[in-house]
């Protein structure tokens, strides 16, 4: 329950209640319809992604089994309109195999969101730590960490992913002894996580610089507060806002990167579905079976869009200057 300092109403005046930043944010977001829709969409997709493995286990979703009886003609295209849409196959079936596209898209969503979320977590943790240290330490330490940040930022992430993929995934597969799915996911999480931290580090460092000179930090220091206390009790509470916003904005970037890699044939390997590999295959059927491209393509678009809009909306809501006219 938030604090509220109520001033008693006098002579019909409206009572004034102070609100915490969190309450202000919530109110602002509630008022912004676009962001609310984006929020519900994002939550919907997350729930869907979490439910997919369970549904697959219970046989409600089936991304792997072929239904060749639903195909026909030269090239094994789906029979029926819209790529074989039916009550059993809401998004139609895949040419050549007859696999259910809806199941594959949702399973691909799970992979995408798991990889994107874990990658962003790594980026946040690494970036916050480095940004905090750089911001508070200043001087040589800051200079050195900033150069490291620049260095990592200047690496082309996608090219690195493509170049390293075969070697690292082979290594991981050898170490784990499973098929390529888990090693591919670990690989992408690690690489995207590692190349994403400079983004956060810079933001955190900037925030820390502006907070550092404030009186409450000086006060805490003069009272003998150690570094750890300053980090955790004084600085971090002020940093959650930018962290939240940029997390939400990096998510769609990671989702798109994973899809791009799958599209290039790197990353998650068949038969595990992923957005990228589905889209890669569907592009070749663009003229003969456009539904195969449209359903997954539009889904990916909506996922990325909802996270983007959510992030934008949160950023506006958290901006202390937002309410001023």
């Amino acid at each position: 329950m938030a604090d509220s300092i109520a001033v008693e109403a006098r002579d019909g005046a409206v009572p004034i209640a102070g609100r915490t930043p969190w309450q202000i944010t919530r109110a602002r977001v509630r008022r912004d319809t676009g962001t609310m829709i984006a929020l519900f969409a994002a939550i919907f997709f997350i729930v869907l992604a979490l439910a997919a493995p369970i549904l697959t286990n219970f046989g409600l979703l089936d991304p792997y089994n072929s239904h060749t009886e639903l195909l026909g003609g030269l090239g094994s295209l789906p029979k029926g309109a819209f790529g074989g849409v039916s009550w059993q196959h809401w998004m139609g079936v895949e040419p050549g195999t007859g696999r259910d596209i809806f199941s594959r898209v949702i399973s691909g969503l799970t992979v995408s969101l798991v990889v994107a979320t874990l990658a962003v977590l790594i980026s946040v943790i690494l970036g916050t730590v480095i940004g905090l240290i750089a911001g508070t330490a200043g001087g040589k330490v800051d200079w050195f960490l900033s150069r490291v940040t620049d260095f990592v930022l200047s690496f082309p992430q996608t090219l690195m992913l493509i170049a390293l993929s075969t070697i690292v995934i082979d290594l991981l597969q050898g170490a784990l002894g499973t098929d390529r799915t888990i090693p591919s996911m670990i690989f992408m999480i690690l690489v995207m996580g590692f190349f994403g931290w400079p983004y956060f580090a810079r933001i955190i460092r900037g925030q820390v610089f502006s907070l550092k000179e404030r009186e409450f930090i000086e006060a805490a220091r003069s009272l003998g507060a150690g570094r750890r206390r300053i980090y955790f009790k004084e600085l971090l509470p002020h940093l959650w806002a930018p962290i939240l916003v940029y997390t939400t904005l990096i998510m769609p970037q990671n989702i798109a990167t994973e899809a791009a890699l799958g599209f290039l044939g790197v990353g998650i390997q068949a038969p595990t579905p992923s957005f990228g590999s589905i889209l890669n295959d569907s592009v070749h059927y663009a003229t003969s079976d456009p539904a195969y491209f449209l359903f997954p393509g539009v889904t990916l678009f909506l996922v990325v869009l909802s996270f983007n809009l959510l992030g934008d909306g949160l950023r506006d809501a958290l901006d202390p200057k937002a309410d001023r006219q």
């Binding site: 090239g75 895949e94 050549g96 075969t166 070697i167 098929d179 068949a270 038969p271 890669n280 070749h284």
Partner: protein, 577 residues
């Protein structure tokens, strides 16, 4: 994009097992849209060859993939005899003299063959192609540890004794062990080359159409490094470097004398080989027919995704029976597959209908249970063990009786491309339903057969996909090449016997079949095929298919030669300009 693959201790035993066809009798009736291009051919212009399958070898003694043999022979590696270009897709091709003056003279006992090499054939540096060049080229096949990947007919046919372990007593021109034995079997007298056969061999002059019997200049031989260092005695030579997964450019060899060459018309001035594409993008471009693609032909066949759209290339595409059979090999060196019941279970649970659907539908793909292609007279037409879809329940019962713990984990390799990804997803479902736990390993095309043939991977895969077509119209180029351990398995790897199948009874039956002719031989080869499939479960034949090829609108004379590899015959291709 070149993938960097680190494989420790690989002797690089690379054999690409897709070779020449055997459609004698023209059973391949092409359907609508056949093209040879009308009008008179014009010399000049640039021809683009598009490829979605990077070449593993251009070294003539190491080339075993059909399209590389065909294009290699027509561009830069002449052989003593060859199969002539045909006038219509799928027509039967004639065995004709190429670098020799005729198709050879054989002694009455069938054990000596003589060929006279034409005058005036020159290498790209102007030096004459001599009998010694042919003798040297053929000898390279014996260096089995370096010159890997190619057909080993030279070792099988020539009269050179074998060591106790089955390897040839002649170890090739680098080690020179047994060089005197080779020099006795292959002799040069001026321009006449004489071969002594180990057994009566009436079809030797068909075997020498493969580039493995092509000439090679000793002073240009860098062993393994000669793989892409093309040195030509044909109408085209390589200009600049060859880059794997990108390609290269071929220009005219000014020292090629058309008067010595009745086979190759060599119309284009330049041939640009582009292997940076996938089969999907290649055919999208050919169907769209824009810009330089108007002057392009396909080297490999259309993938499934193009089939629905190929009707848009009216007049520029053709459908022919492919001379290949796709099959699974079970690895006798793997712990699981050395169990007889496990192999039989795998065979029973194989869902060929998934392959048919994923590979384009039953209009162009047919399930089969024979290694030999239907085009050959020895095709035994072995019935499917459990129908198109297989019988996972029966297979599961077998697995449970095999003594292995279910689910049985197996690692299945296949050549990675979009079509086979889908094929194997379907096959995996069938096998998993039978109690296997299939882990799929899609290996990139440019490393596929090399990976299977590397001794380092002998126990890595439990089963693997493969494709094979007869090298020339005889089942003796199918069964022994794939299943005779004596000629295939060596210290360098399994050769084309990827599953290390080694059975003395089977080998004895092969020897008996070699000695027969005509219908008796057909029956014997057919029986061997059926035994390999239904008795030993060494192979699981999957499908036969039809190939679809396309070319650009400016291209003329692109005709599929199903006797000689089953791809477009470059010899008659020209571009309008």
């Amino acid at each position: 994009m070149k993938k960097i693959k680190i494989v420790a201790g690989v002797a690089a035993t690379l054999a690409l097992a897709l070779t020449a066809s055997a459609c004698s009798g023209g059973t391949a009736a092409p359907t609508t849209g056949t093209s040879a291009g009308g009008g008179a051919a014009t010399a000049g212009g640039t021809l683009y060859v598009l490829s979605g399958t990077p070449a593993e070898h251009w070294d003539p003694q190491r080339t075993y993939v059909g399209l590389n043999i065909e294009f290699g022979n027509r561009m830069f590696s002449r052989t003593l005899t060859t199969f002539a270009p045909v006038a219509k897709d799928g027509e039967s091709a004639q065995l004709t003299a190429d670098a020799a003056t005729d198709t050879g003279q054989v002694s009455s006992d069938g054990k000596t063959w003589k060929f006279t090499i034409k005058d005036g054939i020159k290498w790209e540096d102007g030096k004459a192609v001599t009998c010694e060049d042919f003798k040297y080229g053929i000898s390279r096949t014996f260096a089995v540890d370096v010159i890997t990947g190619g057909p080993n007919y030279a070792i099988q046919y020539l009269d050179i004794p074998k060591n106790k372990d089955g390897s040839s007593a002649y170890a090739g021109p680098y080690k020179k062990t047994g060089q005197d034995l080779y020099d006795k079997a292959v002799t040069c007298d001026g321009n006449t080359i004489t071969f002594k056969m180990a057994k009566p061999s009436g079809d030797f002059n068909q075997a020498i159409t493969m580039t493995a019997f092509g000439a090679f200049r000793q002073d240009k031989d860098q062993g393994d490094k000669s793989n892409f260092a093309i040195f030509s005695d044909g109408p085209y030579k390589l200009d600049g470097p060859w880059t794997t997964s990108k390609g290269g450019t071929f220009v005219r060899n000014e020292n090629w004398d058309p008067k010595t060459d009745t086979i190759r018309k060599a119309y284009p001035d330049k041939i640009v080989w582009d292997e940076s594409l996938t089969q999907e993008t290649m055919y999208e471009r050919l169907i769209a027919d824009q810009g330089d693609d108007k002057n392009a032909i396909a080297s490999d066949q259309a993938p499934v995704t193009a089939l629905a759209n190929v009707a848009g290339a009216d007049g520029r595409y053709t459908v022919v029976a492919s001379p290949y059979t796709r099959y699974m090999v079970t690895n006798f060196k793997s712990k699981v597959m050395s169990n007889d019941k496990a192999r039989e279970a795998l065979a029973l649970a194989t869902d060929r209908s998934a392959y048919v659907a994923a590979a384009g539908g039953d209009q162009i793909v047919k399930a089969t249970n024979s290694l030999i292609n239907p085009a050959l007279s020895s095709f035994p037409n072995t019935p499917l063990l459990a129908g198109d879809k297989g019988d996972p329940a029966k297979a599961k019962a077998l697995l449970q009786a095999s003594g292995l713990t279910l689910p049985v984990k197996i690692n299945v390799a296949y050549r990675k491309n979009d079509t086979l990804d889908k094929v194997f997803s379907g096959l995996k479902s069938g096998w998993d339903a039978a109690g296997f736990d299939v882990q799929l390993s899609g290996i990139p095309a440019e490393q596929y057969y090399g990976t299977l043939q590397s001794p380092a991977n002998a126990t890595k895969y439990d089963a693997a996909w493969a494709g094979w077509g007869a090298d020339f119209p005889s089942a003796s180029t199918v069964i022994p090449q794939l299943l005779d351990s004596r000629s295939q398995i060596s210290a360098g790897g399994p050769g084309q016997d990827y599953g290390y199948f080694a059975n003395d009874t089977f080998n004895a039956e092969i020897d008996k079949a070699y000695a027969l002719t005509g219908a008796e031989a057909d029956k014997a080869w057919g029986q061997l095929d059926a035994d390999a499939v239904t008795k030993y479960f060494a192979v699981i034949p999957l499908i036969n298919d039809q190939f679809v090829f396309a070319h650009g609108s400016n291209v003329q004379g692109a005709i599929v030669n199903t006797t000689f590899t089953g791809y477009y015959d470059l010899a008659t291709v020209s571009v309008k300009h």
